[in-house]
């Protein structure tokens, strides 16, 4: 009884960690630009697919991973530079179409560069299950949770302690104010895309040995990440992490106890219920419109 529950909890935490990373990616970009980047899921896909290819070329994992993360970050910067910056202050719908267009473009490129097949990455430290309190767990799950936690802590340090991080936060509070004190808005925007693309790639890579990857793998991951970010309150980093864990655990529980066919619906049911009562997410603050 408790062991099945634990089993579901572990897989929920594993999923949740990935959603949290994807959600954080949404929040970082949203803070820097008020853009929702629908191509976020593609960063996860690019990270995983690039790693698969590089490992295929004979590179060791320790080298392939940083390289793949760098590739994803470069794609992120290119996306910001050539699609988001030129859009300027276009309306919400316009920017949504741009980033959805970017996601379709990236999937198309992935199809051409790679293929339409599923690919697996070897597990980082074997596939011998570890048993914890009667439940079993793949070593890769520990990698997922550990790496995600490390990434989240590193981000916390970056935004809390470094000048660049503080500058980015300043932009999210007041664009004009940040500009007045000399924060380079454009560089902040590009950095935010690089950062969340890299972060997404890391998530995509560590989870690839468990879930397989393909050119389309980013679609659902992206949407779940968006749910996580909205659930926590857009632009709230801690909220995105919390939202990711809630979505991941709820998904694993509903797959386990209710119906595996509806597991993908869980995130969206939660989001609708939460937005019904809290229109600005769990940790989002409500602003009164000023006239």
């Amino acid at each position: 009884m408790t062991s099945t529950f634990l089993q579901f909890l572990f897989s929920g935490l594993t999923l949740g960690a990935i959603y949290a990373l994807a959600g954080l990616g949404f929040s970082i970009i949203y803070n820097a630009s008020h853009v929702i980047n629908f191509a976020q899921g593609e960063f996860l896909m690019i990270g995983a697919m690039a790693t698969v290819s590089l490992v295929g070329l004979g590179l060791p994992l320790e080298l392939a991973i940083p390289l793949a993360v760098a590739i994803a970050a470069a794609v992120g910067v290119a996306l910001a530079r050539f699609a988001v910056v030129p859009a300027g202050d276009a309306s919400v719908v316009t920017v949504i179409i741009i980033t959805i267009g970017a996601s379709i473009l990236l999937r198309g490129v992935a199809q051409v560069v790679w293929d339409k097949e599923f690919h697996a990455l070897p597990a980082f430290s074997g596939t011998v299950p570890i048993s914890v309190l009667g439940a079993t767990m793949l070593p890769q799950s520990l990698w997922v949770m550990g790496v995600s936690l490390a990434a989240i802590l590193a981000l916390g340090w970056f935004f809390g302690r470094t000048m660049a991080g503080k500058a980015m936060l300043a932009v999210s509070y007041s664009r004009l104010g940040a500009q007045l004190v000399g924060v380079p808005i454009r560089r902040v925007l590009l950095t935010s895309f690089a950062l969340s693309a890299g972060l997404g790639a890391i998530g995509g890579i560590v989870v690839a040995p468990i879930t397989f990857t393909s050119y389309e793998a980013g679609v659902m991951l992206g949407l779940k990440g968006f749910s996580a970010a909205v659930l926590g309150g857009l632009g709230n980093g801690l909220g995105a992490v919390l939202g990711g864990l809630v979505v991941g655990i709820a998904e694993a529980m509903s797959a386990g106890y209710l119906s595996s066919a509806y597991k993908d619906a869980t995130a969206f049911v939660i989001i609708l219920v939460v937005l019904f009562f809290l229109p600005n997410g769990l940790l989002g603050h409500k602003g009164s419109e000023r006239v």
Binding site: V93, I100, A102, I104, L105, V112, L223, A267, E289
Partner: protein, 332 residues
């Protein structure tokens, strides 16, 4: 420009054939009817008819969706679900329960209308990205249900439909379907143009500009947002029903997230807050992939680039940008 005969005298404002022809509701509708009537002369084969019919069906959905997105300023990333529900209602009611096709179509429209009405109030309280998320979620949930409940929907394989039969007449064949879709499109455009230029339509456009500004003159903004949502959902459902009968089958993909995205892209591509822009967008983006088939593997790349390019360089959409160009050219 200012010294035209119709400058400001009230009687001249109402009269004048030239003026009437320039109005969307008379001239635009007439032109559209003409194009629909003459287009078959340029359609060489069954394949071309098929593309035209699909373009028309998409145009119907987009004219409705444009009322919500373009005029009322409320995004929906889930409208394909309403299209899909209309299609499945027709499919299920006619094949499994032996309903007559028109009855099934009407039932689908009513069902979608009721569903849209039920969810609209809480959903449309949300703004911007939160609204995008909620409508997206709603659409994804509905498409997952259609995918999963295979005992009634046929699951991922979808559902086959019989030919459309109305009062004993079997409606089949490209020419018949072209006519049905053409007339439905004209009717939809007429209704949309009427609505836009009525107290209801002005209320929608006003709340798009400023909700507080609309409320203080008596516009119950929540009510009108719901109205636009329901009207656009019902139009999508009707188009979905027609599509199901025309194609002879319906699959869950037609209700999915990517189809919703496609519909919004069509509206924005053509030009928001322009009924004819929505048609231009729907037709362009239905025809384009057909042309891109030649590029096979590069289809997604080209489509993605076009989406980004239009939004960056023609933010107001293809049709509206061209129209503005034409206007400024005529003025100079």
């Amino acid at each position: 420009m200012t010294s035209d005969v119709h400058a400001s005298a009230a009687p001249a404002r109402r009269g004048g054939l030239a003026r009437a022809l320039l109005r969307p509701r008379t001239g635009g509708l007439g032109l559209l009817a003409l194009v629909i009537a003459l287009l078959p002369l340029a359609l060489p084969n069954a394949y071309a008819y098929d593309v035209a019919i699909n373009a028309g069906l998409n145009a119907i959905v987009c004219v409705g969706l444009n009322l919500l997105i373009g005029y009322a300023g409320q995004i929906s990333l889930g409208h394909a679900a309403f299209f899909g529900l209309g299609a499945y209602a027709s499919g299920i009611l006619t094949t499994r329960y032996g309903w007559p096709a028109p009855g099934a179509l009407a039932a689908g429209a009513v069902l979608v209308g009721v569903l849209a009405f039920a969810v609209a109030r809480p959903v449309l309280r949300l703004k911007g990205h939160y609204l995008a998320m909620a409508t997206l979620g709603l659409g994804v949930i509905i498409s997952i249900v259609l995918n999963t409940e295979s005992w009634i929907t046929g699951g991922p394989d979808g559902l086959m439909l019989d030919d459309l039969t109305v009062l004993g007449w079997t409606l089949a064949g490209d020419h018949t379907w072209y006519g049905i879709v053409g007339v439905t499109l004209l009717l939809t455009v007429w209704l949309a143009l009427n609505l836009i230029d009525s107290p209801v339509g002005r209320a929608l456009r006003a709340l798009h500009g400023t909700e507080i500004g609309a409320q203080v003159v008596g516009v119950d903004t929540a009510h009108y947002k719901v109205l636009a949502f329901v009207v656009s959902a019902v139009i999508a459902a009707v188009a979905g029903s027609l599509f199901a009968h025309y194609a002879g089958m319906i699959t869950p993909g037609k209700a999915g997230f990517m189809k919703s995205v496609e519909l919004v892209t069509m509206v924005v591509f053509g030009g928001m807050a322009s009924t004819f822009g929505a048609i231009v967008g729907a037709v362009s983006l239905t025809v384009l992939p057909q042309l891109l088939v030649a590029f096979e593997d590069y289809e997604s790349i080209v489509l993605g680039l076009i989406m980004i390019g239009t939004m960056v360089f023609m933010r107001r959409g293809l049709f509206v940008t061209l129209l503005d160009l034409a206007k400024s050219w005529r003025r100079s």
